[in-house]
Amino acid sequence: MHKNDFVRQLQTPGGSMRIRQALNLDYMLTGILMTLCAISLLVIYSAGGQSTLYVKRQLVFIVAGFVVMGLVAQFPPRVWERWAFLLYIAGIASLTAVLFVGVEINGAQRWLNLGFTRLQPSEFMKICVPLMIASYIAKNAIPPTFRHVVLAVLLIFLPVFLVIQQPDLGTAILISASGFFVLFLAGLKRSYLISAFVLALAALPSLWFFVMRDYQKQRVLTLLNPQQDKLGAGWNIIQSTTAIGSGGWSGKGWTKGTQSQLNFLPESHTDFIIAVLAEEFGLIGVLALCGLYLLLIGRCLFIGLNATSMFGRLIAGSIAFTLFIFIFVNLSMVSGILPVVGAPLPLISYGGTALMTLFVGFGILMSVAGDSKTR
């Protein structure tokens, strides 16, 4: 049993190396995460009008995140493989609950009120769904057969459907992406891939006519022509591109960004935080951040490639690419390539639930990494 290994290792005298191994933490990953979290605090301080309110709260989230990550890392991948189904069921249950007793903010019902804090179950689905699919596919044939693919797709679309009802199209797309990556990495047949792509294209019009709400369509139209309604729908995107563009090479300096400091930038500490960073630290800052992300994703892939179990590989690989997609969607949305959807910038945006989900993911990654090392 792994647990016995853990206890034995702790009890064996043999220096810090042993303890580090025993704690099962990947130090490179931890280092990158800490750097990103530090950057996050800096930018949030500036974006929040130089008040420490959000910084303090985010610091609590970060500390909690590292603790959660450490705890998750202590359980071997097998445990998570086994628990995946239960987590998935719990996730579906809470998503259903949101539809009935959720808290409505800004016209969307996404939150569950737990009394002391609000929880966004759809965020947790970003980790529950790939866990579920990875455990399901790893248990069965690789590459997945038709039957398994169909069932996996159904497993993906159940939570996606529920999230669309909130409505939260952005998160829904990200959840399906995270599930899809598992299938893709598991070696989904090319014919399936092509037909899925064709199906998706064919589904676009019906998505437009039947699924998308008016405000969502508006966001797509706004992307095409933001100048049409400068003070209304176009405001966010005009202000964010202005903030980014006015940053230049090296930016206006920390807390010196006029767009963010004078409140022209909406949601500057959450979804649009990259605009603050781009304005105050310039393209150099953006590239530095991208470099850190590259390291992070690279490390995740490295862990995936070295994983001993199929489940470990799939979950590590899908977390890596899901992370990439999150980053990509956020950076494109704020810079006006994609329509505005509610997608925070991983590890940088203010917000507890998203951060916690990410740390759970990194915890699982470490669990996978630790598993391969101890073998």
Partner: protein
């Protein structure tokens, strides 16, 4: 399953995974390149555009209001100043939902429907991002309510502004006039840049005539604002230049004395400094409080002013045109002497009426009981006792055109050229005038009517005062002036003024006669001579409001008070070296001697009281 196949299977699974990771990586790198290209495009290629846009967002140019020039009387008393007031203004672009904002504001402080109607009107005329006033003169309480709630009132702002104030209220309303909100018509005509810092403009009076000097020069400041339009800091500024301050010839003491004496009448008085032509007092009663107009007068107050039968808004001093009556006699007498139609020795017999050859109807002598002024009436007596028949007789000889010609030099029949808007010209009739205005030929009867300042003749109180001043100065033609100095610098007087061509002995004669109007027991204004410490010259006048047929007596009891005769009086003093000249009229005051003359005495007393003694004694 043996170990080998499992191993091969596992290897194959791993290979599939590796291949897929590589494919995904390639796609991801491609997507990453798109992102980087996009940020490069925004931050480097189009950097300048966005810098401009960001600056346009935050930097706004605000006009800095110049403070309007102050107005003083000759002794440095403030007649118009500026006081800070606080107004609630709205920038429409910065309010998310303006109607909602108005509702929210109405919950906090009282905003009347009228405020909103006016506001919407102003909103149509404003430029983008311009402050539009919603409510003026916020109280301290309203200001603090708004300050506390400012965070949820995006677009609304309390702005301090200097507002015109007239400390003397109605006392100078007709002279100084007032400023008011720029209306639609005016906004078409003005230079919008010059007026970008103000929403007021001189509407009437000195405020209007000297608008250009009083306005000042607008400054500007570049300010950084946040997304809610709140000013964060001032980046640069060009200070505004205050308007010129004006010192008027007016003397508040004389103005107050005249106003106090006349305020219960419909009347007007103008006092002129003889040596300079400066207006010492200009009163028209009833008056009104000009402060009411500064921030927009309420409908109720405005209706009250407009509908009053006494017409308080009507500036009688310059726009009221009255028959000058007998006040015209001194200058006609002078003209007759100069034209040699009469002489100092010339006398007539006055039976109390006058017949013109070929006209059946006689002209009555209004200033004597039946029987007339008797035999041997000379010019002096005709002035002192105001004998009409003397002038009836003389005027037929002199002829209207000679009378008109000279009278114009005394200021009648044309605007005096006062630095003031809206002056009326009155009427000094002539043959030419009648042909053009009435399309009729001139009759001798018209001349006879004109000879006692009746008939077609009309003059404003200002013209009476100017005539009196020119009588006093022995024919020096000085244009009357209100403004004495700008920014403390006095305007040089005109080097050479025209002089009316009348011989010196005639002036002496007429000054003596006019002195006797006041000082002789037979003088029509003799009731004001009591305890007078100086020599005053004067001439009373009565102007008919309704015509009474020659056979009827004027009976005040039979006619409405508003149709009673107007009382007029002209005067100057001291006779030896005239300093002050006055023209005044009291509507329906009946007799110049009883209602008008005492007021002139009061004002001149006030003036003489403040003259240094030695100046009186000189010359």
């Amino acid at each position: 399953m043996n170990d080998d196949s499992t191993f091969i299977d596992l290897t194959r699974q791993h290979q599939i995974f590796v291949t897929r990771v590589i494919i995904a990586c390639i796609v991801a790198i491609a997507m990453g390149i798109v992102i980087v290209a996009r940020y490069f495009d925004l931050q480097i290629t189009r950097h300048q555009d966005f810098v401009t846009q960001a600056d346009n967002n935050r930097v706004h140019m605000r006009p800095a209001s110049p403070s309007r020039g102050l107005i003083y009387d000759r002794n440095g008393n403030l007649l118009a100043d500026n006081r800070p007031t606080y107004n609630l203004t709205i920038v429409r672009e910065r309010s998310q939902d303006m109607d909602q904002l108005l509702v929210d504001l109405d919950h906090l402080i009282d905003i009347s429907d009228n405020d909103i109607t006016q506001f919407k009107k102003r909103l149509k005329r404003r430029k983008p991002y311009e402050n539009t006033a919603l409510k003026y003169n916020l109280s301290e309480r309203e200001r603090s309510i708004l300050a506390v709630n400012s965070f949820r009132l995006a677009g609304a702002e309390v702005s301090a502004r200097l507002t015109r104030h007239y400390p003397n209220g109605e006392l100078f309303a007709h002279v100084i006039g007032y400023v008011g909100r720029i209306n639609e018509e005016e906004s078409q005509a003005i230079d919008t840049v010059r007026y970008s810092g103000t929403d007021s403009i001189g509407k009437i009076g000195i405020e209007k005539y000297y608008e250009d000097s009083l306005l000042g020069q607008v400054g500007n400041e570049h300010v950084e604002t946040n997304a809610r339009g709140r000013v964060m800091r001032v980046l640069s500024k060009v200070d505004p230049l205050a308007g010129d301050s004006l010192t008027l010839h007016l003397d508040r003491r004389l103005q107050a004395a005249a106003h106090a004496a006349l305020k219960d009448h419909r009347a007007a008085l103008v006092a002129i400094e003889v040596k300079s032509g400066g207006i010492l007092a200009m009163v028209s009663t009833p008056s009104y409080d000009p402060n009411l107009f500064v921030s927009g007068i309420s409908q109720v107050n405005y209706s009250a002013l407009v509908q009053s039968r006494d017409r308080p808004l009507f500036n009688r001093a310059i726009r009221g045109q009255y028959p000058p009556g007998s006040t015209i006699k001194p200058i006609f007498g002078l003209i007759g002497l100069q034209n040699e139609d009469i002489s100092a020795e010339h006398t007539i017999d006055d039976p109390g009426y006058f017949y013109l050859d070929g006209v059946e109807r006689p002209w009555r002598d209004h200033n004597s009981k039946r029987g007339g002024h008797g035999k041997g009436v000379d010019l002096a007596e005709a002035i002192i006792e105001s004998c009409d028949v003397y002038f009836y007789t003389m005027s037929v000889d002199t002829g209207i055109d000679v009378l008109a010609d000279y009278s114009k030099q005394f200021g009648l029949g044309r605007i005096t050229g006062l630095d003031f808007p809206g002056e009326q010209s009155g009427i000094m009739p002539s043959k030419e005038w009648k042909r053009q205005a009435r399309g009729e030929p001139w009759f001798n009867g018209d001349t006879i009517n004109a000879s006692i300042g009746q008939g077609f003749m009309l003059a404003t109180p200002l013209q009476l005062a100017v005539m009196s001043a020119r009588l006093a100065s022995r024919g020096k033609v000085l244009e009357p002036r209100l403004v004495k100095a700008r920014n403390g610098v006095e305007k040089p007087a005109a080097e050479q003024s025209a002089v009316i061509d009348i011989d010196s002995e005639h002036w002496d004669y007429m000054h003596r006669a006019m002195r006797d109007v006041v000082h002789s027991p037979r003088g029509t204004a003799n009731r004001i001579r009591k305890d007078i410490g100086y020599n005053m010259a004067g001439k009373t006048g009565t102007a008919q409001v309704i015509s009474i047929s020659a056979d009827d007596e004027y009976d005040r009891d039979k006619i409405n008070q508003r149709q009673w005769d107007h009382a007029l009086f002209i005067a100057f003093a001291p006779v030896e070296d005239p300093q002050i000249a006055i023209g005044l009229i009291v509507e329906n005051g009946e007799h110049g001697s009883s209602t008008a003359a005492p007021v002139a005495r009061l004002v001149i007393d006030e003036y003489m009281k403040n003259q240094p003694d030695q100046q009186l004694g000189q010359r």
